[in-house]
């Protein structure tokens, strides 16, 4: 079987100009003719020599940190921007969904927007007419079809937008994180639709930060890092590669993250045992403490660090914030180096790999540090002898049983 997409040595570079506005003014261009430019420019590779093949019917999840080149790759595949070098051979109609509701106009009614958006996405008018009822039905906004879109709630706009996109029937569908929005019920509906699309034999390329979605939807994964393919293969394997192992962190230099306001720095949190020693492996049944090391560059009134454990499927097992603990007494102000520990109930987690999220809010509960913008951290809990038999579920729970 011939691949439906052959991506061959694709690179995309931008020239970054220092000391210059992001877009040019005519004066800049005119003056630079007469005097040698003082600004230095630097070649930046958003994508660097990417090659892979996609076969018909495959669903591929593309993951990577912010800035790894995922969106650039999708833009090139969608023909929005040309590659700087390399080529892609495509043997099917590609439709891309880099945003839901592209071209939606607030002044037009729901009905009009279905037609406008559908045709921008590449559907023929007859196609839209034929599927119109289904689209409306899927979106659930039939009551407001003739109301201008600006009076819709954002949720309704989103549902309508996804409904149109869901009825696209290209051979290759390119999707960028459109599922990150909307309420849980609607997300479920969308995932269902996407699974249906992928089961119907169409090819899907899917970029997302939602590990669970990638794992459910995609059999194959591609991990991009700094514009290069870091790993490619079975999606669960690639997802594992994506997350930094806790075990590995201390081997690297522990990373510090500065808050958006610049007032606080947080070292990447780590686990310690009862004696205060850092631990690098986690066996089922061990109970450890998570340590946050803050440096306050100026006096701060309060701070609210938090952490969460997310299962491989993207399910949030629990979240713990400092201010959930009513016993905790926050000092008047914090300054300098401050260590905050939290004991979380690790023994209740069944052996598996989890993702750990970290963040910190300030006293007004604004997020000032979101560690997961910088890295994904995984926690692998190994099996111990006690629960040799496989467990089903996320929580380790054995009830007490008796015959009465």
């Amino acid at each position: 079987m011939k691949p439906i997409l052959e991506i061959k040595n694709i690179s995309k570079s931008f020239r970054i100009q220092h000391e210059r506005q992001p877009y040019l003014s005519l004066r800049d261009s005119l003056t630079s003719i007469f005097k040698p430019s003082t600004s230095t420019s630097e070649e930046f590779f958003a994508l660097n020599d990417i090659s892979f093949d996609v076969y018909p019917g495959e669903s591929i999840g593309i993951i990577g940190k912010n800035g790894a080149g995922k969106s650039t790759l999708l833009k090139i595949l969608s023909k929005i921007t040309p590659p700087s070098s390399g080529r892609i051979i495509s043997r099917g109609r590609i439709a891309s969904l880099l945003e839901v509701g592209t071209g939606f106009h607030p002044e037009l009614s729901g009905r009009e927007n279905i037609f406008l958006n559908g045709s921008i996405l590449g559907m023929k008018r007859k196609e839209i007419q034929a599927k119109f009822d289904e689209i409306v039905d899927f979106s659930g906004v039939e009551k407001f079809l003739d109301t201008p879109l600006k009076h819709y709630s954002s949720g309704m706009q989103l549902r309508l937008a996804f409904a149109v996109a869901a009825f696209l029937e290209p051979e290759v569908l390119v999707i960028d994180e459109v599922l990150a929005v909307g309420d849980a019920e609607f997300q479920k509906k969308c995932m269902g639709k996407m699974e249906e699309v992928s089961n119907s034999g169409r090819t899907i390329l899917f970029v997302s930060h939602n590990m669970g979605a990638v794992k459910n939807l995609c059999k194959k994964g591609i991990l991009l890092e700094k514009g290069k393919v870091k790993s490619i293969g079975d999606s669960s394997k690639v997802l594992d590669d994506y997350m930094i192992d806790f075990n590995m962190i201390s081997e690297h230099k522990r990373k510090s993250i500065r808050s958006t306001c610049g007032r606080v720095t947080l070292k990447l949190p780590y686990w310690i045992d009862d004696k205060g020693n850092e631990v690098n492996s986690y066996t089922f049944g061990d109970n450890y403490t998570l340590r946050f090391e803050f440096t306050f560059h100026e006096k701060m009134k309060g701070i609210n660090p938090g952490m969460a454990i997310v299962s491989k499927d993207g399910f949030r097992v629990f979240t713990s914030h400092l201010n959930d603990d009513f016993e905790f007494k926050m000092p008047e102000s914090l300054e300098g180096n401050v260590i905050i520990d939290t004991r979380v109930n690790l023994p209740s987690l069944a052996p598996d790999t989890y993702q750990v999220l970290f963040g910190t809010n300030d006293d007004l509960n604004h997020v000032i540090i979101d560690a997961n913008n910088e890295m994904e951290v995984k926690l692998k809990i190994e099996e111990s002898n006690r629960e040799k038999e496989a467990t089903h579920g996320i929580l380790w729970h054995t009830g007490t049983w008796e015959i009465v």
């Binding site: 004066r27 929005i80 040309p82 590659p83 080529r87 002044e107 921008i120």
Partner: protein, 273 residues
């Protein structure tokens, strides 16, 4: 169907692709027309009211002076209206086409379709406005019992509108491509339109310019020919074919240059928008 995505190499018009996406012309034009008059009380009447109000103001203020200086034999309101409705194809078309890439940046960055559709649709919107105003203009002809050279009118009318659209599109697509790279053009466009209004025989006849060399300079303006052609059967003046040819040539040059500059730069619009 097999095709390749690769760095831009050769310059083509991409007519096949435009044909493939032909329905988008309809949808973009339809959207712009709808949106233009949405939430207005008077709706489509605005397409007519603007040239009408301008005609009224001109007739009150400069009408007499221009009629005397140019030897206009028909009622001045008719003269002004005939110029203004053709001029408005250019003025409103150029303004919306020139800004079209920037104002549709959100779409350009998210989806691919032949970019030419957008400025062409902008010109189609102003053509639609022309049709509305033209109906009123016919009404005015009847009201003033003005006799026209009907044969010439039927030939020159489509010619003049076509040339006006071609000139508008040529300059509009050039400005659209420049505007997305150099945002200065956002300020240049309104000024350009206003400046051209004064050097185009819209509200005055060309014979107020007595210097023959000067007339040639005026004729380099691509809008010169459409205006003269449209007005000729109504005012029954002498039509200087040399000047018309100069202007036609100029609009074709603008058309080709604008089209090619646009095609040459369009693949990078999404990076610049």
């Amino acid at each position: 169907m097999e095709y390749e995505i690769k760095p831009k190499s050769k310059l083509t018009l991409g007519l096949n692709e435009l044909w493939h996406y032909r329905e988008l012309f309809y949808f973009f034009t339809w959207r712009d027309i709808k949106v233009k008059y949405k939430q207005t009380v008077l709706g489509f009447a605005w397409a007519v009211l603007q040239p009408l109000a301008m005609t009224l103001l001109l007739s009150i203020s400069l009408g007499k002076i221009i009629s005397n200086a140019g030897g206009i034999t028909i009622p001045y309101p008719l003269f002004a209206m005939s110029g203004l409705i053709i001029w408005n194809i250019f003025a409103s078309g150029l303004s919306s086409a020139g800004n079209s890439m920037v104002s549709n940046a959100n779409i350009i960055k998210k989806i691919y379709f032949p970019r030419l559709i957008i400025p062409i649709s902008s010109v189609l919107v102003s053509f639609f406005d022309f049709l509305m105003a033209f109906v009123v203009f016919i009404g005015m002809l009847i009201y003033y019992h003005t006799s026209i050279l009907i044969g010439e009118f039927l030939i020159f009318l489509p010619m003049s509108v076509l040339v006006a659209c071609i000139a508008t599109f040529g300059l509009g697509s050039l400005l659209a491509a420049l505007n997305i790279k150099y945002r200065d053009f956002r300020y240049i466009i309104p000024f350009l339109i206003q400046a051209m209004f004064f050097i185009t025989p819209v509200i005055y006849p060309i014979n107020v310019i007595s210097n023959p060399l000067m007339r040639y300079l005026f004729a380099i303006n691509p809008m010169y020919a459409p205006l003269e052609l449209f007005k000729h059967p109504i005012i029954k003046n002498h039509l200087d074919m040399n000047l018309i040819m100069v202007s036609l040539f100029s609009s074709i040059v603008f058309f080709i240059f604008g089209l090619f500059y646009f095609r040459k730069t369009e693949s990078y619009f999404a990076d610049l928008a």
